[in-house]
Amino acid sequence: MVEQTAELSGRPWTRYSRKERWLRFTIYFFTLFAVVWAIRDIDIFWPWVWDAPTQIQNLGSRMWPPEFEAWSAILNAMLETVHIATLSTMLTIFIALPVSYIAAQNTTPNRLTLWIGRFILVSSRSVNTIIWALLFVAIFGPGVLAGILAVMFRSVGFIGKLMGEAIEEIDRRPVESMEATGASRMKVVLFGIVPQVMPAFFAIVILRWDINIRESTVLGLVGAGGIGVLLQGSIDTFAWQTVATILLAIIGLVLLGEALTSMLRKKVL
């Protein structure tokens, strides 16, 4: 064994092969290059960057202690926010379900409807809720309607896409057996598809409702109702302590929403 050890000594070992090292080096190099370019090219006034921690601290101290005087207005606005989220989630269901049906490859009547369904879902998902809100505020004026429509238009894509995937993943065999009994298409869907996607449906809607509560809090910043209107107003008037209260209220709402949705999820599934 000692002779073998003598033969084996001097053999090199590296963690990465030559090829791998080259690859890693290239990646690091390009990333570094991109970082340097981004930092140099970006439109930032660098003295402000070093000043940033002080500024942030400054803002923080101006928000302390939180001012509770406007609490009833805040409460009303929070309620409005919850209504926006809830109404739009409920209304979205009626639109998202048929769209998900035609956007699922195994249930869509023909290629054109598949394309239309997918197009609707993709456009809905790619435009952020706030941008939808901007659009609807421009059309219908500031207010709750713009907010509800904005959340609806965004939620259709979310619910529709996930439901479409749930539909595509069903077991084909119950569908086949329902067809064999001579049932019409609608009855086949009712007995063969609906029972299979029910659990997914509840989970998806509950999840989206939770997300929508969060989204609804910021709609007011572009005028579409909810607590965001109060928030924007307080910021514009530099009422930082009220801002702090509003932020606390928002955290409270989000936590409440999460608690509620996880409880609902346990009950339903």
């Binding site: 990333t31 991109a34 970082v35 981004a38 930092i39 090219d41 970006i42 439109d43 930032i44 006034f45 402000w48 960057v49 000043d51 940033a52 500024q55 942030i56 400054n58 803002l59 409005e80 209504h83 809830t86 109404l87 409920m90 993709v122 456009s123 790619s126 435009v127 952020n128 706030i130 941008i131 901007l134 659009l135 421009a138 059309i139 219908f140 004026g141 207010g143 709750v144 309607l145 969060r214 989204e215 809090t217 910021v218 910043l221 572009v222 109702g225 928030l231 924007q232 910021i235 932020l247 928002i250 955290i251 989000v254 936590l255």
Partner: protein, 272 residues
Amino acid sequence: MSEARSGSGPLAGQTWRKPPFIASPWLRYGLLIAVGVYFYWTFNTLPFNWERIAEGLPRAARIFGGAFPPSFERSDLMWTGFKESFQIAFLATLLGVFLSIPIALMAAKNLAPLPIYLLGRGIIILSRSFHPVIVAILFVAAVGFGPLAGILTLTLYSIGFVAKLLAEKVEEIDWGQMEAMRAAGAGFFKTLIYAVFPQILPRQIGLSMYQLDSNLRASAVVGIVGAGGIGSTLMNAFGRYDYDFAFAILILIVGVILVSEGISGWVRKKIW
């Protein structure tokens, strides 16, 4: 024997109803009534400015008329705005992912002592609770308009997502590997490098790509409140009623999101 054919026998005439999804009839009808009442009540109490809404459809017609065809004339503005969005997203992802690693280690119950664990978890919860737009407004108020606020916002946003997932991963690691390193006499940091990182970092690349994609979408939005990027360009166009330009920007945003989604999906497939 026609036993199987006839409907007679001991069970004939027995009625049957489908066992309802919600067993208690009170709860069932109560829920239905509650939903109906809810709709009625909210529609009545929520402030709808019906006059303004009625103006909506003709307005919509005007806006869509003005928006079509989309105007790509000021493409240099669009290019600058988009470039800035990309820079914001890129730097924020890098910074966010980089910071997520120590924060995730802090927020892992199996690694960190209790006070540090609470601190780590607190940072993550704080980062997640607020919509990035709100965070953006606060940073704009603190450090001024421009991409700096955007980078800070999205860094926090990234931490909220990446650190949370990493922390969960850390809590699920195979403890045996840690033990082995400790038994060999390695200190805390060396143990980290040899036992923890190899278990959590492989997923990191996929996560980072996903977060880059996420940040690119979000950067379009935080710009709306002044944190830089294509969102600011969009807001300006909207404010000046340049709907055809706004439409062009919107198309660009949607296009970029789709491309980015495609690329990140492809990269993640390659890495898995």
